[in-house]
Symmetry: C2
Subunit: 393 residues, 2 copies
């Protein structure tokens, strides 16, 4: 159930000493082909880390042979020297695998504004090459080596059957700080043994991430390092079209995104905010993001208080030109209890028991149209404040 579930891939995770904790910190994923199709999406932040600058260019031709990832240091805000460090990392991988450095993606996560310990990282790369394995353990070791404040490694694999045969998609992800609106590095690598065209891989990845990873958290802001990459080996010999690939990638990305929410730093609740009755999907999304961004609502949920007034107040901050609706028509339902009807009190909020489960469902019906969207977030807890005041990312 990992990166190495599809045929044609090897992976590894080793300890290079970049983390003070001594936990594994270098991961490597290699596509052994016969095809080497690759695509990736990156953070929308204008402040991007050196590995993002590198990988954006490297993926441009649609060919990716390997992805090397390190935790312990983000190599962000490190200037020209930081970029040179990333370049040298890619070259070390390329030399060992006898491929071009321009076909090696690099991902980093960890402290910002600090230089990498490059000698340690390069030694780790050599060890990661030696440790490459095509069995499930290889993928799991890779998933463990990219963890930062994650408490569990996140892996998934799905298999699809078509008339032409069976093909598989595997994946791993990290990123436990998804509660934060402005910075929470999320890295994911997906693999598939399907035979796909580069443009289909790119389109399917964008379609899948748009409705999954992009709808975890809040305001569309992303960290300096966010990267999601797909590598396709073609080893199954099964040709797969854009629609089929999009379906499978969406399933895999949704699963990984849900695991990220469940492992968010210090959170005690996972909150799904679904806005329906909007005039467009963008309008629904804007309202859902405004609600998931409200610190007051998130703190209320931590206190097991179904504070629907804070939902309404957050929705009201979205400009009418972005999301037309009548505030006096809005219904809010929390875990199935209609606590607000037509912008005024509905059923007794005491009927809502938020303490009963980790998952909370907030449904906002705008009564303005037919479109809907869901955004996931977490509650705002003492542990969140503690982790983010004590840990420098």
């Amino acid at each position: 159930m990992s990166l190495t579930a599809p045929a044609g891939f090897r992976a590894s995770g080793v300890t290079a000493g970049l983390k003070a904790s001594g936990r594994p910190d270098v991961a490597l994923v290699v596509n052994d082909g016969p095809s080497h199709v690759g695509a990736a999406v990156f953070t929308s932040n204008r402040v991007v880390a050196a590995p993002v600058l590198w990988s954006r260019t490297a993926v441009g031709d649609g060919v990716v042979r390997a992805v090397v990832l390190n935790s312990g240091c983000a190599n962000a805000c490190t200037g020209a020297e930081g970029f040179a460090d990333t370049h040298r990392t890619a070259e070390r991988v390329a030399d060992a695998l006898a491929v071009s450095a321009a076909d090696v993606l690099v991902c980093s996560t960890g402290l910002i504004g600090e230089r990498l310990d490059l000698p340690a990282l390069l030694t780790g790369v050599d060890a990661a090459v030696d440790a490459l394995a095509d069995d499930p353990v290889g993928g799991t070791h890779a998933a463990e080596a990219i963890m930062t404040t994650d408490t569990v490694a996140k892996e998934v694999a799905v298999t699809r059957q078509t008339a032409a045969g069976t093909w598989t998609v595997g994946g791993m992800a990290k990123g436990a700080g998804m509660l934060a609106p402005a910075l929470a590095t999320m890295l994911a690598v997906l693999t598939t043994d399907a035979v796909v065209e580069p443009e289909d891989a790119d389109a399917a990845l964008r379609a899948a991430t748009r409705v999954t990873f992009d709808r975890v958290d809040s305001d569309g802001c992303q960290s300096t390092n966010d990267t999601v990459a797909i590598l396709a080996s073609g080893a199954s010999g099964v040709p797969v079209g854009r629609a089929e690939l999009t379906e499978a990638l969406t399933t895999v990305c949704a699963d990984l995104a849900r695991r990220l929410v469940a492992d968010a730093e210090g959170a005690s609740h996972d909150v799904a905010v679904t806005v329906s009755g909007a005039t467009s999907e963008d309008a629904a999304l804007a309202v859902a993001r405004a609600v998931t961004r409200s610190n007051l609502l998130k703190a209320a949920i931590f206190g097991n208080d179904p504070n629907w007034g804070r939902v309404l107040a957050a929705a009201g901050t979205v400009p009418a030109e972005v999301a037309p609706f009548d505030p006096d028509a809005v219904d809010v339902t929390v875990n199935g209890v209609a606590v607000c009807r037509g912008g005024a009190p509905g059923e007794d909020r005491a009927l809502v028991d938020l303490a009963a489960s980790r998952e909370v469902r907030i449904d906002v019906e705008l009564h303005a149209g037919e479109a809907a969207a869901t955004v996931w977030t977490n509650d705002l807890t003492h542990d969140y404040v503690h982790e983010n005041s004590a840990y420098s990312t």
Copy 2:
């Protein structure tokens, strides 16, 4: 040093029983003239409380005789019945003062989604009328009666001398939750004995709040109840023009806004984020708001960590069309220490001692233009989470 410092005003604060704590909860401010000029600005939220709906209409003709304010209940999300409650409150004041209800503004703050205890409020209004006083105690009692989670009453008065004589501006404010991006009711009433035209009062109030109250906190979102009103009695006999009035109101509003930041719920630091070198004031403001909105940065400041990477990452979330700048040119200075130069590490962050004082200054130089703006916020603390998870607003 209060609302009643200018000539022509009486004020009071009494206990009507709207607050479970039994603290004062109804305030009244009366303009005895000879002039009754009034202006007000309100929340930009589309979900507005009944008193805002009422007062927006009432202030339309530029005549205000009195402002009645209650704490303990926001009368927000209460539908047509809530509006009727506000209407009856204004009528009770108007009857007692023998003025028109259409010249009485109403402000409410407290719990959302709950009806007012109207009989208690109306009895409180009668008591507030009886208690009206033109001495400093009257103003102070009013300032105390509008407090919610505020720990201190907030009052100010300034006097200005012109060739035509002396005139005074007084003011009070409440709103201790300014750390929250989406909801933190802020109420302020200003008084002056200057002789002013209604359009000058309106323009001066808008100009003053734009650079003061509107730059406390984060993202321009406001609560369902925010109101700032100015009442001018003309009792000094000193005619004052728009520019002079703007200067004095800006001084008073800046003082009150700074007090709000200093009393923010659970905060341990007041943080001034100044963005300079921007292509326009709007661009500077957009970057400053993005930085003050970062939960990760706020949590880091609580931990006394001058985490400039989080400043840069937040700045990078502002679209280039809103604020053009080169991320590799940005300098960040924290409490005078240049921790980031040209988007990369500068002086040692260990030189910054955030524990030494409550006030923190973060200066972001974009090197893209000449414009600047400052936004105030607070750190994100355990006490903030506690207060906002335990207290239903």
